[in-house]
């Protein structure tokens, strides 16, 4: 059982490159999984459960993504009966500072935080992954 996993769900290649450098530097003990959109993240999550490998301890989620955006991913999680909400720990990580997005994030119990880009060292220490 490996629960040191952290998902980074974002379609922006530049952001992902920089963010992963920062994250790995702060938490070399963790495995960071990069996923390009909501659907990739959803499928990965499902396969983890099926193979009984356990939940990621944190999901960093962007909103604006192709194929399946952040909201659609959250809705899919909500509807999926095979997932235990209580174990989910999602933090939004987005460039959106719109109030409607911030308010909408609050509607999901398993969304525990809302981080606006740029992603900083300080944001990482506040996450308390370790």
């Amino acid at each position: 059982m490996n629960s040191e996993n952290v998902f980074l769900v974002d379609d922006d290649f530049i952001f992902k490159t920089a963010a992963l450098i920062l994250l790995k530097r702060a938490h070399p003990e963790c495995d960071f999984l990069y996923l390009k959109n909501g659907l990739e993240a959803y499928n990965k999550l499902k396969s983890l459960i099926e193979s009984n490998e356990g939940f990621p301890k944190l999901i960093l989620l962007d909103i604006n993504m192709p194929v399946m955006n952040g909201w659609e991913f959250l809705d899919a999680l909500k509807e999926c009966t095979c997932l235990d909400d209580k174990n989910l720990n999602v933090h939004m990580l987005t460039s959106s500072i719109a109030d409607e997005d911030i308010d909408r994030a609050k509607e999901y119990d398993f969304v525990k935080g809302y981080i606006t880009k740029p992603f900083t060292q300080e944001d990482i220490s506040n996450l308390r992954i370790a």
């Binding site: 530049i14 952001f15 920089a18 604006n64 460039s95 500072i97 719109a98 997005d101 880009k117 740029p118």
Partner: protein, 595 residues
């Protein structure tokens, strides 16, 4: 007494009713015709009772002294108790003895007629008078004096007659007209105010007629009628009517009256103003042609229905005036019935154009406001997402530059900062374009050859097309023109082409098909690809929103389709999309050929 005269036999044989009498009014002889005159046939002459003649003759007995001819009218009653008027013409015939010839004539008809006329005059209060200019005498009838409030036997003078006219315009006019009648023989007929003997003002209808001999007026005869009550009522009515008319004139309300049975329409002045047509040569059937046909259909239906159900109706319709401007009229009508049969419709038409235009203006303003509001929201969204994603990347990358990065990592970072700043720049350019679209005017639209536009767009991204190994097939007539703005048309095809390339399916060669056909006033462009496709069930109507990116790859900004839609609509066109995931997408553009 038995007197024989040469006339005797003549009188007996006379074919006119005549009798010969002596000075005591004794009947000497009479004609057969007189017996007939008294309803007795010739055959039973023997049985004719001449006492009836004796009775008649007795009435003239007291006046048989005259040596001159005289007339007398006598009323008798017939056997069946009917009134009969007989006129006697008495001629003295002096021979050996003093005798008289009496001619009989029946004047019952004339008598009763003049009697009725006199009665009618009394009832209608028509007074008559006669002014003899030769003797300078004025005679008024009984009713005339009654109208003026004088006693029956009052000897009215000419001065009194003139002074009875109300001082001022009424008297002046009367004198003027009377003089014209005397001097030039011009008859007059007028309504005027008089002052009666009791000082009361009264409206009188006066008629005067000159009696002329050899072109010279010798008398004036006239009549007058008391029309005071009627005149005052009419004045009151006229005043009311005038007030109504002024009120109606100001409100742009036209009144019409339709005779159902005779198919006749009467319009008031306002109706002509409303329809902007002349009163002369008015033909209702022609005027109706100015109404919009579809509105006329509805109107006719409503009228037919209200005639059938005997109800009132209300409708609105549009009319073209002489300046080709559209007017909106509101019509209300009521069906009138006689013995529960419709025979007439009376209605009003009101001009509601200003109201309509105001409403439309308001609606337009509302749409503009809504549109602007939507753009503002989109603008805020794009600032929040697209602008911030690039700017936050730059900020993040820059802050990491001075941390522990390897040389090659630093070089990568600088490259990434460059890409991000390019993206930022592009987003800002597009935002600027979004703002610009809103200020397009219709007057800027012009006919453009569509083929040229498409060729140019393809040429401008030929490197991109080559790189993507895309195949483009175009089916268009060179001569097809669309009504638009060149930079917008360029931008539309540029956006659609790059969109297809961005969202191509890596598993197959990209094929793009552009088909253009002309259909009525429209040019229909169908732009299809075999790319990734869009899940329309999920994204539906938000597809052309500024904030939507469906297949985000690194170039996607989500503004492209929004700008395309705005451009199409600015040129009065429409855009729609059909798509199937993993099959491809087709955009259909309906562009205008003319204004």
């Amino acid at each position: 007494m038995n007197i024989t005269t040469p006339q005797t036999s003549l009188i007996q044989k006379s074919t006119v009713p005549v009798a010969l009498i002596d000075k005591q009014a004794n009947l000497i002889e009479y004609s057969q015709a007189l017996a007939v005159f008294f309803e007795c046939s010739e055959e039973n002459n023997e049985t004719f009772d001449n006492s009836i003649i004796d009775n008649v003759l007795n009435t003239i007995k007291p006046i048989l002294k005259s040596k001159q001819h005289f007339e007398e009218e006598i009323k008798i009653f017939t056997e069946d108790n009917k009134e009969r008027w007989i006129k006697l013409n008495v001629y003295p015939y002096f021979g050996k003895a003093k005798l008289y010839q009496v001619f009989f004539s029946d004047i019952t008809l004339q008598k009763t007629e003049s009697y009725l006329a006199a009665q009618a005059h009394q009832l209608a209060k028509v007074g008559s008078w006669n002014m003899n200019l030769l003797t300078d005498t004025l005679i008024w009838s009984k009713v005339a004096k009654e109208i003026y409030g004088y006693p029956e036997d009052y000897p009215i003078t000419i001065n009194e007659a003139i002074e009875s006219c109300k001082e001022g315009e009424h008297r002046n006019k009367m004198i003027q007209m009377f003089e014209a009648c005397v001097e030039k023989g011009i008859d007059y007929d007028l309504e005027t105010l008089i002052v009666t003997a009791t000082g009361e003002e009264k409206w009188i209808h006066k008629i005067g007629k000159a009696v002329q001999v050899n072109g010279k007026t010798i008398a004036v005869r006239g009549a007058f009628q008391d029309i005071d009550k009627f005149k005052r009522q009419r004045n009151e009515f006229d005043k009311l009517n005038e007030r109504m008319r002024i009120a109606v004139d100001r409100t742009n309300i036209g009144v019409w009256d339709y005779d159902i049975i005779n198919d006749k329409m009467i319009w008031d002045r306002n109706m002509f103003n409303l329809f902007d047509i002349k009163e002369e040569g008015f033909d209702f059937k022609v005027a109706v042609k100015n109404i919009f046909p579809e509105d006329l259909n509805v109107l006719n239906k409503k009228i037919a229905e209200s005639i059938k159900n005997l109800t009132s109706f209300e409708a609105e319709f549009r009319v073209i005036d002489r300046k080709n401007a559209v007017m909106h009229l509101k019509c209300k009508g009521k069906v009138l019935c006689k013995e529960s049969k419709p025979y007439r419709i009376v209605g009003v038409n009101i001009d509601v154009t200003a109201e309509k235009n105001k409403n439309q203006k308001m609606q337009e303003l509302l749409e503009v406001t809504e549109n602007q509001n939507q753009r503002l929201l989109n603008f805020a969204y794009i600032v929040s997402h697209n602008l911030r994603s690039s700017s936050s990347n730059i900020s993040m990358l820059a802050s990491m530059l001075n941390s522990k990065l390897s040389k090659s990592e630093q070089e990568d970072f600088i490259e990434m900062i460059k890409v991000s700043s390019d993206n930022l720049n592009e987003t800002i350019t597009q935002l600027n374009e979004v703002v610009k679209i809103q200020t397009t005017k219709v007057s800027e639209l012009q006919p453009i050859f569509l083929k040229e536009i498409i060729d140019k767009a393809i040429q401008s991204i030929s490197a991109l097309i080559l790189d993507a190994n895309a195949e483009i097939n175009i089916a268009i007539d060179d001569k097809i023109k669309v009504y638009g703005i060149k930079p917008y048309m360029n931008s539309i095809f540029f956006n659609l082409l790059t969109n297809s390339i961005k969202y191509k399916c890596d598993k197959r060669k990209l094929m793009i098909a552009i088909n253009v056909v002309s259909q009525d006033d429209d040019i229909i462009v169908s732009f299809s690809d075999n790319g990734l496709g869009i899940d329309l069930e999920k994204h539906g109507n938000k597809i052309f929103g500024m904030n939507k990116t469906f297949h985000k790859n690194k170039d996607a900004r989500g503004i492209g389709l929004f700008i395309t839609k705005t451009h199409v609509e600015a040129m009065k066109g429409e855009i729609s999309v059909t798509s199937q995931v993993d099959k491809g997408t087709t955009f259909q553009l309906n562009l205008k050929q003319n204004i």
